[in-house]
C-alpha cells in the first residue's frame, strides 16, 4: 500500500515537475521563438557567471546557456517573487488572493489523468504511467478546465476595476462557449475509442492516430482548446491593447501565477491534443516487443526501452504542439468579442454536433 502511494507520488511529481518545467521553458521559448519570427535577437541578458577562476569550467558550460538567454525564466521568477504584492483599494482581499491560486491549481490538476506512457512492468509491478487511471478521465479534464475559469472570473470581479471586470466577463462567456465545442469534438474520439479513459483512448489509436479517423474533431478541438488557453488569437480576456486584462490589478507572483496558468494550459492543451489525436505515447510501428515495419523488417527491443521511447515520443509531440501554438500566437491578430461568439456558436458548435452525429452513425453501422 505504502509502495503504491510512493509510486503514485513519484508519478505525480514527475508530471507536475514536467508541466511546470515546460511552462517555465515556454516563457523562454515564447521570447526566443517570437524573436526568431520577428527578425530580432531576443532575450540574452540574464546570465549566470562566477567570478572565481576555479569555477571557470562551470562558466564555460554556462556560456552557451547564457547566450541563449535560457536563464530568463529564472530571472522572471526572481523578479515576480521580489515584487511588491499590490492590493487595489476596494478590492475583495480574500477573493483577490484566491483567484490566481484557483487558476493555477486546477490547470495543474488536469494533468493527473494524462497518460504519458504505457503500463510499465518493473520489479514485478505494473506501473501505469498515468497519475490517476480514472475511468472517466475526460470528464475530469473538462471539470478541471471549467473550474479554472473561476480564477479568471473572480480576478475580474474582485479587483474593483472596470477593465478587470470586462476581462472577467469576456473570460466567462468565452470559456462557456468554447467548452461545449471542445466537449462535443472529443465525443467523436470517445465514440471511436469506446471509452472515457485517456489511457484507453491512447491504446485505441495503436493502428491509426485520432487525427486520421477524426480530422474535423481534431481541428475543432484544437481551435476550442486554444481558446481555452486565452492566448492570441483568443486572448480577449487579456486583450492587452484593449482592456489590459482581468489581471490588470495584479502584481508580483500573483500576476506570475496567472501568467504561468496560461502557459500551463498551453502545455495541457498540447498534452490533450497529443493524447486524443496524435496517439499519446504511441510510436509509429512500435509494438510492445519492438518495431514491426510494414516492409517486413523488425527490431526487437526490451520492454523498458519501449516504455522510454513511448514517454519520449509523448513529450516530443507535446513540444511540437507547443511550437505550433507559439507560431499561431505570434502570427494571428486577435478576434473581437462578437466575432468570437459567432465563430464559437455559429461555426464550431454546429460543426462539432455534425461530427458527433456522423461519427455515431458510422460507429453504429460498423457495429
Amino acid at each position: 500500500m505504502f509502495t503504491e502511494f510512493l509510486i503514485k507520488a513519484g508519478l505525480a511529481l514527475f508530471i507536475l515537475g514536467n508541466a511546470l518545467n515546460f511552462a517555465g521553458l515556454l516563457t523562454w521559448v515564447e521570447r526566443k521563438q517570437s524573436a526568431v519570427m520577428q527578425d530580432r535577437i531576443g532575450a540574452n541578458r540574464a546570465r549566470i557567471e562566477f567570478g572565481s577562476k576555479w569555477l571557470s569550467p562551470v562558466n564555460w558550460i554556462l556560456g552557451p546557456l547564457n547566450a541563449l538567454g535560457i536563464f530568463h525564466a529564472l530571472a522572471d521568477a526572481i523578479k515576480m517573487f521580489a515584487k511588491e504584492d499590490f492590493m487595489p483599494r476596494g478590492a475583495d482581499r480574500f477573493l483577490h488572493t484566491l483567484a490566481p491560486a484557483i487558476s493555477v491549481v486546477f490547470a495543474l490538476a488536469a494533468f493527473a489523468v494524462v497518460p504519458f506512457g504505457d503500463v510499465w512492468h518493473v520489479g514485478g509491478r505494473l506501473v501505469n504511467l498515468q497519475v490517476s487511471g480514472l475511468n472517466a478521465g475526460i470528464l475530469f479534464v473538462f471539470a478541471m478546465m471549467s473550474l479554472g475559469v473561476y480564477g479568471v472570473i473572480l480576478a475580474g470581479f474582485s479587483s474593483n476595476n472596470n477593465y478587470a471586470l470586462l476581462g472577467g466577463m469576456r473570460a466567462a462567456s468565452q470559456m462557456l462557449s468554447y467548452e461545449i465545442t471542445m466537449g462535443l469534438a472529443v465525443m467523436g474520439v470517445v465514440l471511436c475509442a469506446g471509452t472515457l479513459d485517456l489511457q484507453g483512448i491512447v491504446r485505441s489509436q495503436s493502428a491509426l492516430w485520432g487525427f486520421a479517423t477524426q480530422p474535423l474533431a481534431f481541428l475543432l478541438f484544437m481551435t476550442a482548446a486554444l481558446a481555452e488557453t486565452k492566448r492570441v488569437p483568443f486572448d480577449l480576456p487579456e486583450g492587452e491593447s484593449e482592456i489590459i486584462g482581468y489581471f490588470v490589478e495584479y502584481s508580483g507572483m500573483k500576476f506570475g501565477m496567472f501568467f504561468l496558468t496560461d502557459l500551463v494550459e498551453t502545455v495541457l492543451v498540447a498534452c490533450l491534443v497529443t493524447t486524443f489525436f496524435f496517439g499519446g505515447w504511441q510510436v509509429p510501428y512500435l509494438l510492445p516487443d519492438g518495431f514491426h515495419f510494414p516492409w517486413g523488417a523488425a527490431v526487437a527491443l526490451p520492454h523498458t526501452a519501449v516504455i522510454v521511447l513511448g514517454v519520449t515520443a509523448f513529450f516530443l509531440k507535446v513540444i511540437c504542439f507547443n511550437w505550433l501554438f507559439m507560431a499561431i500566437r505570434w502570427t494571428l491578430p486577435r478576434f473581437r468579442y462578437d466575432q468570437l461568439m459567432d465563430l464559437g456558436w455559429k461555426i464550431l458548435f454546429p460543426a462539432s454536433l455534425v461530427n458527433t452525429i456522423v461519427t455515431s452513425v458510422i460507429v453504429v453501422m460498423k457495429g
Binding site: S34, M37, Q38, D39, R40, N162, Y163, L166, V232, P233, D235, L236, G239, E240, S241, E242, I243, I244, W330, T331, L332, P333, R334, F335, R336, Y337, D338, Q339
Partner: protein
C-alpha cells in the same frame, strides 16, 4: 428625506459603465484620454480629452528668430519630422517671396516622401499590434529602420533631424545616397509584400477592420478632415495635387482613395500611399539636377570666395524697405504678389562653416544672420502654406511684423479635426474597436497638442 427608494426598481436598474481609456493605457499613442460610455461591450458615447502634451509650440516660435523654430517643428509629428520642417520653411519662404533651388526642391520632395513612408509604416504596424499581431509591428519597424538609416545618413539624426532651413537645406545629400535609398526602398517593398501577405488576406484582420470606425464623406469634409482619413471615404483631396508645391506637379503619382471610410479602407489607402511615395521617390531621384541646395540673397548662389561685403563696395541703395500690409483675412496669402515681393534682404542662408571661420565676409554674413537684433526679416505680411503631411493637410500660418521674429505662428495639425470627429466615429462600435479606430487616426500627441 427625499423620495422613498423603490428597492425592487433599484435592483433591476441598469446603468452604463464609464470606462476611462487613457491617458495611461498601453495602447494610447501619446497621451490622450477617451472616456467611453459602455453598455456591455458597445460604446454608447465617447468623450475625447486632449492637451496632455501641450508645450506652447506656437508661443515658443515667437520667442526667437525664424530659423530657431525649426527644431521645434521636429517635435510636432515626431514620426515624420521632415515634413514639418519643410512645411514651416515653405511658409516662411512664401512670406519672403523666396524660391529655393531646383535641387533643394527635389531633395525636399524625396525627404518628405521618405517621412510619409515611415509614418504610414508606424501607423499600420501599430494598428496591427493593437489587434494582437505583434509580429507585423516589428516587421514594419524593421522596414522603418531601413529608412531611418537613410534619414540619419542625410540629416545626422533619426528623429530630431532639423534638416530644412529657410531658403534651403542644412546640407546636401551624402555620397552614395541614391544607391542606398534605392536599396532601402527595394527592401521596404519586400517587407510590405510580406506584411500584405500576413494581413491582406487574413480573415481575422479584415473582419476586425471592415465596417468599423465608419465616417461618411460628408461628415469627414464637414469636420475638415484631410489626408488618408478623408481619402478613405472616397474624396480625393490631396494637397500635393490640389495645390502643388515643390516639384510635385512634375511628378506622376496617383492618389489612392477608399470607398467606405472604414478602418480597412484606411489601411488599404495607407498601404497604397506608401507604394506611391516610393514611385515619387524613384522619379525624383531620376530627375534631380545637380547644383546648390541653398539660395543666396539674390536667390542665386555665390561661391564663398566671391562673396564680398556689399557695404564695402557701396551697394546700399538696393536695401529699400517695401511695406507689406498684413492682411487680416487669409485672402491675401495666395496672391502672386508674394512671389515678387522684394524683401529687404533675401539673405537667409548661413554661410558654410569654413567660410564663417575662414574669411571675414563669411563671418559677417554669419553674424548678420544669427545675432540678436539681426537675422532674416521677412516683410510685414502673412502666409499660409499647406503641405500634405502624413496624416493630412499640415499647414503653417506665419505672420511677420517685419522684425526678425515671427509675430505669430499657427499650425494646422492634421489629426486635430479627426480627433474632434472621433466620438462620432466611435459611437456604436464595440469597446475592442476603440483602440484600432484610434490607431487608424494615427494621432500624434506632439502635433495634436502642440
Amino acid at each position: 428625506m427625499g423620495k422613498p427608494i423603490n428597492s425592487e426598481a433599484r435592483a433591476t436598474e441598469t446603468r452604463s459603465m464609464l470606462l476611462n481609456v487613457g491617458p495611461q493605457h498601453p495602447a494610447m499613442h501619446g497621451i490622450v484620454r477617451i472616456i467611453a460610455e459602455l453598455e456591455g461591450e458597445t460604446v454608447l458615447g465617447a468623450d475625447v480629452e486632449i492637451g496632455y502634451l501641450h508645450r506652447a509650440f506656437e508661443k515658443m516660435c515667437e520667442q526667437g528668430p525664424y530659423n530657431n523654430a525649426i527644431p521645434y517643428t521636429d517635435r510636432l509629428n515626431y514620426v515624420s519630422p521632415l515634413i514639418n520642417n519643410i512645411g514651416y520653411c515653405l511658409a516662411v519662404e512664401r512670406l519672403m517671396g523666396l524660391r529655393t533651388t531646383e535641387r533643394c526642391q527635389y531633395i525636399r520632395v524625396i525627404m518628405s516622401e521618405i517621412s510619409r513612408i515611415t509614418d504610414h509604416l508606424t501607423c499600420i504596424g501599430a494598428t496591427a499590434m493593437e489587434l494582437g499581431a505583434f509580429t507585423v509591428f516589428l516587421y514594419m519597424i524593421k522596414a522603418r529602420e531601413f529608412l531611418y538609416e537613410i534619414i540619419e545618413s542625410v540629416t545626422g539624426a533619426r528623429l530630431t533631424i532639423s534638416y530644412a532651413r529657410v531658403g534651403g537645406l542644412k546640407a546636401d545629400l551624402p555620397e552614395g545616397f541614391e544607391e542606398r535609398l534605392r536599396d532601402a526602398i527595394s527592401r521596404t517593398r519586400k517587407v510590405l509584400k510580406e506584411v500584405d501577405g500576413l494581413l491582406g488576406a487574413n480573415r481575422i484582420f479584415i473582419d476586425r477592420l471592415k465596417d468599423v470606425g465608419i465616417i461618411s464623406r460628408e461628415d469627414a469634409l464637414a469636420y475638415g478632415i484631410t489626408g488618408p482619413f478623408l481619402r478613405s471615404t472616397g474624396a480625393d483631396y490631396d494637397v500635393r495635387k490640389a495645390q502643388p508645391y515643390l516639384v510635385y506637379d512634375r511628378i506622376d503619382f496617383d492618389v489612392p482613395v477608399g470607398e467606405h471610410g472604414d478602418n480597412l479602407d484606411r489601411y488599404a489607402v495607407r498601404m497604397e500611399e506608401m507604394a506611391q511615395s516610393m514611385r515619387i521617390i524613384e522619379q525624383a531621384l531620376k530627375e534631380m539636377p545637380a547644383g546648390p541646395v541653398l539660395v543666396d540673397r539674390e536667390e542665386k548662389v555665390i561661391p564663398a570666395a566671391e562673396m564680398v561685403d556689399e557695404a564695402k563696395i557701396g551697394h546700399t541703395q538696393g536695401f529699400k524697405a517695401v511695406g507689406v500690409e498684413a492682411d487680416p483675412t487669409l485672402e491675401g496669402t495666395g496672391r502672386p504678389f508674394h512671389a515678387t515681393v522684394y524683401a529687404r534682404e533675401k539673405n537667409v542662408s548661413l554661410p558654410a562653416k569654413e567660410d564663417a571661420y575662414g574669411n571675414i565676409e563669411g563671418l559677417m554674413n554669419h553674424f548678420k544672420l544669427v545675432m540678436h537684433g539681426h537675422g532674416m526679416r521677412p516683410p510685414r505680411g502673412e502666409a499660409y502654406f499647406p503641405v500634405e503631411g502624413a496624416n493630412g493637410e499640415l499647414g503653417f500660418y506665419v505672420v511677420s511684423d517685419g522684425t526678425e521674429r515671427p509675430y505669430r505662428v499657427r499650425v494646422r495639425p492634421p489629426c486635430f479635426p479627426i480627433m474632434a470627429a472621433l466620438p462620432k466615429i466611435l459611437t456604436g462600435d464595440m469597446v475592442a474597436d476603440i483602440v484600432p479606430t484610434f490607431g487608424s487616426v494615427n494621432m500624434i500627441g506632439g502635433e495634436l497638442d502642440r
